[in-house]
């Protein structure tokens, strides 16, 4: 195997990495939203526990967050509007990183409420801010990868023609033997 083979292999792995990232990030969002959606009041309490937003805004966010997570997660998993969904997911995760860091910096003792719960720590439970921040930052990176290399394999964006003009698409089309129309007579 020479150097150019290796780089081609690496390049053909990229869409698969994107697919894996989509499934990972989307799956986590669906799980997080699904665990919260049955109990909107608890979600409101969890948002309020951060003491970051005024009460009325916190209520709205608490009601909207679980369903927003699920919708963004589904879009990522099926690969529809992949890039937009990935931007939204990455921003959401960044907001969570900021919120948790805020709670930590302000000396709050809360549970992040990431996967349900009202933000209360159980008896004898310690906050896990660092772990939560690192985890969510990892998801920001996954989101960034998807934004950079959308939409990956098995994405609805492709049959719908939404895959965009990024260079990988054209390369793949060449690989599929379709070639660029302009090159036919060349």
């Amino acid at each position: 195997m020479n150097a150019s083979d290796a780089s081609r292999n690496a390049r053909s792995a990229v869409p698969w990495v994107t697919t894996a990232a989509r499934l990972g990030l989307g799956g986590v969002l669906i799980a997080a939203g699904g665990l919260k959606i049955g109990n909107p009041s608890e979600s409101v309490v969890a948002v309020r526990a951060y003491e970051l937003l005024p009460d009325s805004v916190a209520t709205t966010v608490g009601y909207a967050l679980p369903i927003a997570e699920i919708v963004i997660g589904v879009l990522l998993v099926i690969g529809l509007m992949t890039r937009v969904a990935a931007v939204a997911a990455a921003l959401l995760m960044l907001a969570f990183v900021f919120g948790i860091a805020w709670a930590w910096a302000n000396g709050l003792r809360i549970d992040c409420g990431c996967f349900g719960g009202g933000g209360e720590l159980g008896a004898g439970q310690e906050p896990t801010y660092l772990v939560d921040i690192l985890r969510d930052f990892g998801f920001v990176l996954l989101g960034a990868w998807i934004v950079r290399f959308p939409p990956g394999r098995f994405a609805l964006d492709r049959p719908l023609g939404l895959a965009g003009m990024d260079h990988l698409t054209t390369e793949e089309e060449n690989g599929d033997g379709q070639g660029r129309p302009g090159e036919v007579g060349a």
Binding site: S41, E42, V45, I67, M81
Partner: protein, 250 residues
């Protein structure tokens, strides 16, 4: 026309064709994008609306059922002669979820008692074991125990939740606790002294201990209907709470 010219015009035609295709393609793409985006946004909107409507509070009626403060600090709200179903509410003045429960489902509990459909018993306990939340909770709990008139107790109880402090620092300060008593219409001169001396702090702690041991409360808020704890997703959904309690009456 030379060979070169013909080739050039053919190339131009192809180029034009391709440009038209590109425009059509872009338009189609835009329509697909807008449609998918609109559906996604509509789903979020519908989900938000559903969550908000599930948490929609009842309108509290004007008249409350008679409220009596028990010697042990529990507070009974029930129409005369209503003994079942018993709805026990275990809550902590410092607990944010309890505040939310009062905001969302408080009116339902008041209405059910006023309609003679339930005997509601409030158990204000101190669930926190760490500072500063523990002291905050004990101060508020001890202060509420100074209120002996039922209706005023309820007003004071509601004011405590409305003014719940952050869990991150000292709150429910003595001066505030006295001032909210005046807001609640408490005129008894002994009240301020009772609050500032924290006369019932020990009683509040002992009662919390007793309730914790006997009722196996895992957290606040906990609502028990005829002795059985109900799920919080029911407790926080006024419609379902009403249904669960009225069914327990049968």
């Amino acid at each position: 026309m030379g060979k070169g010219d013909r080739a050039k015009s053919a190339r131009e035609k192809i180029e034009q064709q391709r440009a038209a295709d590109r425009v059509r393609e872009r338009r189609k793409k835009l329509v697909t994008y807008v449609t998918a985006g609109a559906v996604a946004l509509a789903a979020v909107g519908a989900g938000w609306w559903y969550a908000a409507s599930r948490s929609q509070s009842e309108q509290a009626g004007e008249a409350l059922a008679p409220i009596t403060v028990q010697p042990d600090g529990a507070v009974v709200m029930a129409k005369q002669g209503v003994e079942r179903p018993v709805v026990d509410v275990y809550e902590d003045y410092q607990c944010p979820a309890c505040r939310e429960l009062e905001r969302v489902s408080g009116p339902t509990l008041k209405n059910l008692a006023a309609e003679g459909l339930a005997k509601v018993v409030f158990h204000p306990i101190t669930i926190f074991s760490q500072e500063p939340t523990k002291s905050n909770s004990v101060r508020a709990g001890a202060a509420a125990r100074c209120v002996t008139e039922g209706a005023k107790w309820m007003t004071y109880h509601d004011l405590l939740f409305e003014n719940q402090p952050s869990e991150a620092g000292e709150g429910f300060k003595l001066d505030d606790l006295v001032a909210w008593g005046e807001d609640a219409g408490i005129t008894d001169p002994a009240f301020a002294e009772c609050v500032t001396s924290q006369k019932y702090a020990q009683a509040q702690l002992a009662y919390s201990q007793k309730i914790g041991d006997e009722q196996k409360i895992e957290g606040t808020p906990t609502i028990k209907v005829n002795g059985t704890a109900i799920d919080n997703s029911v407790a926080f959904t006024p419609q379902e709470l009403r249904q669960t309690i009225t069914e327990a009456a049968k």
